[in-house]
Symmetry: C2
Subunit: 194 residues, 2 copies
């Protein structure tokens, strides 16, 4: 996706530890026009999948998901991160391990908004080890809904998440795949350019 | 704002303690079409204010803000909630007291994305005691930017936040004002219907 590739190359910063900082347009400051373009691209890729709900994770997943929901004409549900759950009555919950922070966090959604008739598109901003996406997939499975696929804004192709999700049989659509962040340089997978 | 009023009356639930639950379209599940309409309304109300940035708070403020940013043609910055700040070097920080939870939380933004040439529109999903909006106003003042006003999706008109913000000289634009949640019934301020 050209506009996203351009943005990453121009405005992404590589930090030590293979961290790509995209705070200027995705994770902290948000570029709404870019989010709309991303939403349109997800909608195009999943246009024949019969999507009825988009599921994402707060906070950085919300902007691209709302634009995808707008384009697909369906509601968006965002899972909440909670360290401890005092209200577990009406929730589906999954545990997500963060390799970066070396902690586990529960993520949860209400039982009210996704059901077994739904066809869910999971969207997240980043895919690295795949744990967040896997948590969202687990939540989807708990609802009884069909998981049509997983849309990712930026995939770190040199980490194992994409492989892990595909091995589980999930359709993964990443709008940008990074092959390397070595030497503080972003190397994008070029066959993804559209 | 008609479409929002209708949504609140049809899908809002009143819980004990004057809590209005709008989880089905704003706080957990999000209605993207409604968010677009809300964004357009904020853009219309602030069209002559010379806005250069929208500032909001994760997570429920993000969807309406991204739509407002899209309509105004400006970037959105979302403040992060943190219980403790380990990285304070490049951040502006304000403390927000929650009357509901009876705890204080720090909210923060990077110094990179709002500066003294900016004209900021603060947007939040709810206005009750005004502490979150006040925190966002404080962050704006720390940046040196001009605060053009505060856009609120739903104001609880029977709580003190709106008054507090207006007394401080801020322009407050609430798209729906709730006058009462007594008897488990939502009473909307009708002069706000447009």
């Amino acid at each position: 996706m050209d506009i996203l590739h351009k943005k990453i190359l121009e405005h992404g910063h590589v930090l030590p530890g293979n961290v790509l900082k995209v705070d200027s347009f995705l994770n902290h400051q948000i570029d709404p026009e870019l989010m709309l373009a991303i939403g349109k691209e997800f909608a195009t890729r999943f246009k024949d999948a019969g999507i009825t709900k988009v599921l994402t994770l707060e906070s950085s997943g919300i902007a691209p998901s709302v634009m995808a929901g707008l384009e697909l004409g369906v509601p968006v549900v965002f899972a909440r991160k909670r360290k401890s759950l005092t209200l577990v009555d009406n929730l589906y919950t999954a545990t997500v391990y963060s390799y970066t922070k070396q902690t586990s966090n529960d993520i949860s959604i209400s039982k009210d908004y996704i059901g077994d008739n739904d066809v869910v598109l999971v969207i997240d901003d980043f895919l690295a080890n795949g744990q967040a996406a896997l948590g969202l997939a687990t939540l989807t499975e708990q609802t009884g809904a069909t998981l049509a696929g997983i849309g990712i804004v930026i995939e770190k192709g040199f980490q194992s998440g994409g492989q892990l999700l595909k091995e589980k049989g999930y359709r993964v659509e990443s709008l940008a795949v990074i092959d390397s962040l070595e030497n503080e340089t972003v190397t994008l997978r070029t066959e993804e350019v559209k």
